[in-house]
Structures are given as C-alpha cells and as structure tokens.
C-alpha cells in the first residue's frame, strides 16, 4: 500500500488481484446479492485508491480494507432492508446455486447422484439462511472470524468494539447458529 501511496499503479493492481476474491465473498455473504456485493467491493477499492496519499501504516492493510467493506455493507443492508430478496425453497434448484448464477437442471445433467446433490444444495441454503438471520454485527463478526481468519484484535478494530465485546458477539452468534442449524448439527455427531 505504501508503494501505491508513492504512485505505483502496478502495486494497486496487485492489491486488487490479491484482495478482490476475499472481499467479494465477504460482502456477498453480508448482503446476499452478488451484483450488489461486486458494486460494494468496487467502491471499497476506489476509496482505497482515493485515500492512498493519506495512508499511514498504523494498522494492517486488511484491517483497513475490511473496515471500509464492513461499513459499506452495514449501510447497504440498512438501506435495502425491506428490499432484500429471500432465498426460497421453491426457487429452481440448480447446480452450484448462487444468486445470479443459475442454470436449468435436467435429466442429462453431469451430476449422476441427483438426490445427493439436492441434499447438499438444501444444506447450503439452510446454512446461508442461518447466517442471513443473524443481526448484522454478529454476521460480520462470524464472517470475518471464520472466512477471513482475522485475529480478535483486528476484528474488534473493524467492528469498532473491544476484544471482550467481540468474544461475546461471537458467542451469541454461534449460539444462534447452533439453534438454527440444529438438524444439521445433530447429523454431524
């Protein structure tokens, strides 16, 4: 990032390449809309680019990056709270079903075990719904903790809370998830 600050455009391209996938995935799991997640991720990188002259390495770059992303995601969720699409069990079942990435499943599909595939897709949908039901801050804490593997200090800075508060936040989130996913949790024993 210091190279970007010095005007090295190639370094910005490297940052983009390295962080676009984790950032898009985090935002997608926050807002549950692929197109919106990519729009937000683009906005994050533009804000990073604009702020390059003032960048001071007082914190890790990932902390800064995900703090911008989290704030944008939380604002977006609040702005579109009543417009968010809900994942429906009646929606067409597709292979690798992600919103905006559907294709029709037919008898001649590549997956030989259709029933197993349907079961897997139903599990994923249930897990996504359980995460989606979490309050925004708990959801952000779980996603940053589980998928970005950030330490407690970094996540606390991103969420503007103490480490102690973060640990309580994670405890409550996992408590809610284990209740919501009880049928699947029981199946893992």
């Amino acid at each position: 990032m210091l190279d970007v600050k010095a005007g090295d455009e190639q370094s910005f391209a490297l940052l983009l390449q390295r962080y676009r996938s984790p950032l898009v995935n985090f935002l997608y799991r926050m807002v549950r809309n692929r197109e919106q997640a990519e729009d937000l991720a683009q906005e994050v990188f533009i804000r990073v680019y604009r702020a390059r002259a003032d960048y001071v390495p007082s914190a890790k770059f990932t902390t800064w990056l995900f703090r911008i992303g989290t704030n944008l995601a939380l604002n977006s969720i609040r702005d579109t709270r009543y417009q968010r699409m809900e994942i429906s069990l009646d929606a067409p079942v597709t292979a690798d079903a992600e919103e905006g990435d559907e294709r029709t499943l037919d008898v001649a599909d590549k997956h030989p075990d259709i029933e197993q595939h349907l079961v897997e897709e139903a599990r994923k949908a249930m897990i996504r719904r359980a995460i989606d039901k979490l309050p925004e801050k708990q959801r952000a804490a779980v996603l940053l903790h589980k998928y970005q593997e950030l330490d407690y200090g970094e996540i606390a800075k991103i969420l503007s809370c103490s480490e102690s508060a973060l640990k309580s936040l994670l405890f409550r989130a996992y408590e809610a998830l284990r209740v919501e996913l009880a049928p699947l949790v029981a199946g893992t024993k």
Binding site: S21, R34, I46, R123, K146, L177, R178, V185
Partner: protein, 164 residues
Amino acid sequence: MRCGRMEKQMMPYVDGRLKISEQREVEAHLAACPACRLRVNEFRAVSGLLDELPLIEPSSAFDARVRARVAAEPVKQSWWAVFAPSPRAVLAASMLVLATIWISSRPAPTDHSLNVAVNPANIDPNDLPVLENYDILANFEPLTDLPQPVQGDDSDEVDGNQPM
C-alpha cells in the same frame, strides 16, 4: 470457573487461542459441566458447517470496472499549484519579490533637517545635499540661464488710486 465466564472464553478455546493456564481452567470446567461441554462440541460442528459454503469468484468484468473507475478519478494537484497558474506569472512574481528585497536592503538616505543638534563646523561639505552646497550651486550651469533679478526703485511703489 462458572458458566457465565465461559461466554468470553468459549470461542478462543474452540479456536485454540487461550493461554495454557486459561485452557486448563476451561477444560476443568468442561469436565464438570455437561451443558458447556455440549455447547463447545456444537460450536465446533457449526464451524464445520460454515466450511461447506462454497466461495464465489468475482465476475470477469470486475477488474476492468475498477480500473475504469480509477481512470475516471480526477488527478490530484498539489495545493501550491492553485497559486501558480502559469510559468510567466511565477517569473513575474519572483522578479517582484527580488526587486522588493533589493530595494529594502539599500541604505536609507539620512535626513539632515532632523539633526538639529549637529555642530555646523563638523559637517563635511561633501555630505551636504545639493541644494545646501553653495559650491555646487555656484558652478551649476543650469542656474546661469536664470534671468537676473530686477533692481527695484521708489517710483515703482504701487499707487492704490491708479487703475491696474
């Protein structure tokens, strides 16, 4: 350790991020508390379930869109550029500043009218301004072109009764 304290210790324990002393304290509690033991096991199961969600890849146009937005960003100018609209203006301003400095660095002329306590016998005639230096005035050529003063007599006195 009581169950209430486990709220802040459970996730670090599941993550393996506790100090050894804290870990032993938690394990001692878990050995005696079935509810917390069940909770720890189910937290681990939830963590495993979260691993089942697949990652998505950003669309193929993502990088191009970011680059397009970066290219559209206005170019930042240094703050002093506002005051230097053109090289000629900068040159003119610089010359003015230099001229001001040069003029102000020259010694100021002394004002003799203020030196009321100076002894005339000690004044060097060469220091006197031009108008006070009689030697210069006596040899000053332009003064030779001035008309000679007119000699006045009693018949030139004005009679107030005569017309002008």
